[in-house]
Amino acid sequence: MVSLFRLTAFQSRQGSGVHAAEYWNLLPIQISSYSQNCRSASMASATKVDLAMATNEDQTTIFALQGLAELEKQFADVELAARTSLALIAASQC
């Protein structure tokens, strides 16, 4: 197997602080969700992270994950529009 993702190592690192650990536990779950509320909660949680404790590489990853969470809403909007179009077409064929 590929080596474990470095976030896991960061999460388990001694002295990382409870907020950082919570953040890592939460974020992957929030990213997989299209819920606006969950996304906001994730972002709120992220502000608690003490970025000073993270390495430069970890900080880059944090910012990338935050950016991905922001993108989710835009993906959801396009997908919703697509589903609506398909539903309208299906309805017109009935």
Partner: protein, 259 residues
């Protein structure tokens, strides 16, 4: 009619996927995690020897390359681009595999593709055991014959008459006789799909009056006897519509499992 909303959606998603790509490329080992936790339809084809190669994927993208606007282009044609870091098996830093959608009257159509050559670091490093190279040789031989036909009227080649066809057929048979060998996912780069004329065996069967319905599947195959990755189309679709679209979900799944 359903092509239009699909095309429009894909066109609108392109800039979002481009933004996503920039972000995920900043996350270490993002794509290896996605592939190794990806859809079962894809994972089932990974051999142990493939894992080190998959671990060296630096970037991966899927492009509906024929879509040029909301109203133009075939959204079912796909381009897969793999960027690799250094690995022990091959020299290539980038591999690009295109699948072109071909419609068929009365059918759903299919994806056809050209085999992609990989520059192995040596015969022993070739995880496909020579199958991919042989598939590429056969394709090159067919193309050479088409080029010789200056008027360009030759659309299909009688590939079964080529020695490269026999070589590939024998390699496939020899591979099947060695149960200790596992087929590699990298064979997918050799997929061609239903291109060219039906095989001799299928034609003969039809001429001899075999039940048409019973033999229907064989008549469209063309490549099936020497296809190095028969499930190539299904894997391409799963890569595009599951692994690529839901990459964040597969990545998260990997992080959760590792935690």
């Amino acid at each position: 009619m359903l092509t239009f909303p699909v095309r429009r959606t894909q066109h609108n998603l392109k800039p979002l996927f481009a933004k996503r790509q920039k972000l995920v490329n900043q996350i270490p080992e993002f794509w290896p995690n996605v592939f190794l936790n990806g859809p079962e339809d894809v994972q089932q084809f990974f051999s142990p020897a493939d894992l080190a190669i998959l671990a060296s994927i630096k970037s991966f993208s899927v492009d509906r390359y024929q879509v040029t606007s909301e109203t133009e282009g075939e959204p079912r044609s796909l381009r897969f681009t793999f960027d690799f870091g250094k690995n022990d098996h091959f020299e290539d830093k980038k591999l690009v595999k295109d699948f072109e959608y071909k419609s068929s009257p009365g059918g759903p159509g299919s994806l056809v593709s050209k085999p992609v050559t990989i520059k192995w670091r040596g015969k022993k490093k070739d995880v496909t055991n020579g199958l991919l190279d042989a598939a590429c040789e056969l394709y090159a031989a067919e193309e050479a014959i088409k080029l010789k036909n200056a008027d360009g009227e030759l659309e299909v080649v009688d590939r079964e008459a080529l020695w490269q066809h026999e070589k590939l057929r024998e390699k496939l048979a020899a591979f099947d006789e060695q149960p200790e060998l596992q087929p590699s996912f990298l064979n997918w780069f050799g997929y061609r799909g239903p291109v060219g004329p039906p095989s001799h065996s299928a034609r003969n069967a039809n001429e001899e009056g075999v039940d048409e319905e019973e033999d229907e599947d064989d008549l469209d195959t063309g490549m099936l006897e020497v296809e190095v990755f028969p499930a190539g189309e299904e894997v391409a679709i799963s890569l595009a519509e599951d692994l690529w679209s839901d990459a964040m979900d597969y990545f998260s799944k990997g992080v959760a499992v590792n935690s």
